[in-house]
């Protein structure tokens, strides 16, 4: 039996670049551009596309906590997107019609589910971890698909509201429109990404990276590897759930499709395509993939054949992901210039 844990999940001694080429400036510039964007382009279709990109970027970033930082390749991450989406919808429709109630429900339910299944998943590593997460996520897909009375079965749930936000009871802000929901998503995701960045650059994050490089050594240092991995699993799931909580009101309807294993596969794809060795790489991957799909769909309905082929080419020729590819080319150029 081949050991995936040997070859696949050890990413060499290359440190995760926490920033791109002067990453802080680029990130801030990107954020400023995202804020200014709706003022420059009134096209509502594009605005919706960007909203989706922002939400799915959060999903990919959250998955990278496992893949890039902890060295665990989960093939069931879409389960948390789905759980978050269903939890927020059910909370808003049946418990309390507030977006905060929805988002809280999505984070909590994804975290609790991750705790319950993580106890079993975390014991495994490498390919076995990938398989058990895939199995659990498919189990949740089946539940969503067949539990008609709660999840609406195959048809899913419709009429998901975007309730107004009340700011300390002073004023009400509507996020029902495209622009409003875009800004709401942008703010929530930016805060979440910042929180994630802080977590991953804390001593806790450093231990995760150490576990990725050499779990035995971390164990010998007297640190409870199992608990750290479980914590990473739960944190990753909670952020994934948040993405689901944002996604349900965005789309206005949800269906079991959200939890299907191909969705998990796509998320892994974005993450690796963007580059697991940088914090924002997965977001770049999500942006590129969603853009690509949208562009290809303008020309042909057969987008999978194009995107699949591009993926194959990327795997063969740009193994460091897009961000890795670009940074490598840039550093080559800089080297050439300095000579």
């Amino acid at each position: 039996m081949k050991k995936l844990s040997d070859a696949a999940v050890s990413y060499g001694s290359r440190p995760i670049a926490t920033s791109l080429v002067n990453g802080k400036t680029l990130t801030l510039a990107g954020f400023a551009a995202a804020i200014a964007y709706p003022l420059l382009d009134g096209n509502l279709y594009n605005l919706q596309l960007f909203t989706e990109i922002i939400i799915i970027s959060l999903l990919a970033l959250s998955l990278n906590i496992l893949i890039g930082y902890t060295g665990l390749v989960s093939l069931g991450h879409a389960a948390f997107l789905g759980i978050g989406a269903y939890a927020s919808t059910l909370a808003m429709q049946h418990v309390y019609p507030s977006i905060w109630a929805g988002l809280t429900a999505s984070v909590l339910s994804a975290g609790i589910v991750a705790l319950a299944i993580g106890v079993f998943c975390i014991r495994l590593s490498g390919l076995y971890f990938a398989m058990i997460t895939l199995a659990f996520s498919q189990a949740f897909y089946t539940i969503a698909f067949y539990w008609d009375s709660v999840t609406g079965g195959d048809d899913g749930l419709i009429g998901i509201p975007r309730p107004d936000i009340s700011l300390f009871g002073l004023t009400e802000i509507s996020i029902d429109g495209f622009v409003g929901y875009y800004y709401f998503t942008l703010v929530i995701v930016a805060l979440a990404a910042y929180l994630m960045w802080r977590i991953l650059n804390s001593p806790f994050g450093a231990i995760l990276k150490a576990i990725r490089e050499n779990p035995e050594r971390v164990e010998f240092l007297g640190l409870p590897v199992y608990r750290y991995k479980l914590a990473a699993f739960i944190i990753s799931a909670a952020f994934g759930g948040l993405a689901g909580g944002l996604f349900a009101p965005f789309q206005g309807f949800i269906s079991p499709e959200l939890l299907y294993w191909t969705k998990s596969g796509e998320t892994v794809l974005m993450t690796i395509l963007g580059g697991i060795h940088s914090f924002l790489g997965p977001a770049v991957g999500a942006t590129v993939l969603i853009f690509l799909r949208d562009t290809v769909l303008n020309y042909t309905e057969y987008w999978k054949i194009i995107v699949g082929s591009i993926l194959i080419l990327c795997v063969l020729f740009a193994p460091g992901g897009i961000v890795g590819f670009i940074t490598a080319r840039l550093s080559e150029i800089f080297k050439g210039a300095s000579k």
């Binding site: 039996m1 058990i132 999978k304």
Partner: protein
């Protein structure tokens, strides 16, 4: 529920199991020998079914099914060999993660390729004339085609066993699954073994696809669906274990056949319950190795 009905349902489960064995055995061989989880594996199953549809359209003087039975697995083995040589081989020295991604991309391409060639509507293939009858079990008619599947399954298993345990190539495959590096060091062309295993697995999946073509509707998504089921079979049986895949498939086949009677909508839930029970008690599967 009389005994004849139970017998018919049991045979039904057996037929499901045979199809799953054909697909899962290839999947588990790939895991055991190449160490890859092939997402595109279901794609070969789907292509097998679609190719049978095309042969059925052409007719070939009534011989279409029997021509397909031989040529489709061979054709798919050839396609798989090309895919392995051109796409997978450059990745063996890299992280396994990339192979996973590559096969995922391949699965996407296969799906749309089928859509492009054969279109979106459901396709049906007639049951071949020779197998169109039914055998009566008590008051129930059991389709002859199912019996044919139940016969083909063990025959293929026996051939596979002979290949693996009684031929030089089989010895190489088993050696590669134990220690690839050592095999390479002994001067064996490991790449050739890998290509052979990949082609063999695709031929088996294609065979499963062409066998089910006359008894179910053929759609592009069928490959993704069967991938999950055969994947569960492999996990239950233990990755890389052929015997485990067979036991797992027999188990899942019966659960599907009888689970549908107990709770029509929740048959799949039973399968996941069994899967989770196995994973919790024996994380490496029933016949998996002790160490990863």
């Amino acid at each position: 529920m009389d005994i004849a009905f139970v017998a018919a349902q049991f045979l039904n489960g057996l037929a499901i199991a045979m199809i799953l064995i054909l697909i899962a055995s290839g999947l588990t061989l790939l895991l055991g020998v190449l160490g890859i989880l092939n997402f595109a594996h279901g794609g070969f199953y789907m292509l097998g079914a679609f190719m049978m549809f095309s042969l059925g359209q052409w007719g070939l003087g009534g011989m279409w099914f029997w021509v397909g039975l031989i040529t489709i697995p061979l054709a798919l083995a050839l396609v798989a060999a090309v895919v392995e040589i051109c796409l997978l081989r450059p990745l063996y020295h890299r992280e396994r993660l990339y192979t996973l991604l590559l096969t995922f991309g391949l699965a996407m391409v296969f799906d749309d390729l089928a859509l492009l060639i054969w279109g979106r509507d459901f396709k049906t293939v007639p049951v071949p004339e020779l197998l169109s009858g039914a055998v009566s079990i008590g008051n129930y008619g059991f389709p002859l085609h199912f019996i044919f599947i139940i016969v083909v399954g063990p025959v293929v298993c026996a051939l596979l066993w002979y290949l693996l345990y009684r031929t030089p190539f089989g010895k190489l495959i088993r050696a590669a699954s134990t220690d690839t590096e050592m095999l390479g060091a002994l001067g064996v062309n490991v790449n050739l073994v890998f290509t052979g295993v990949f082609a063999l697995s695709a031929a088996l999946a294609g065979l499963a696809g062409l066998l089910v073509a006359p008894i179910r509707s053929i759609v592009p998504g069928m490959g993704l669906e069967i991938f999950i089921e055969s994947f569960i079979v492999v996990v239950i049986g233990g990755m890389g274990s052929l015997g485990g895949a067979i036991i797992g498939a027999l188990l899942i086949g019966q659960i599907k056949a009888f689970g549908i009677l107990a709770l029509p909508n929740f048959a799949m839930i039973f399968i996941y319950l069994v899967l989770l029970a196995v994973l919790i008690v024996k994380p490496r599967g029933l016949f998996g190795e002790k160490t990863v």
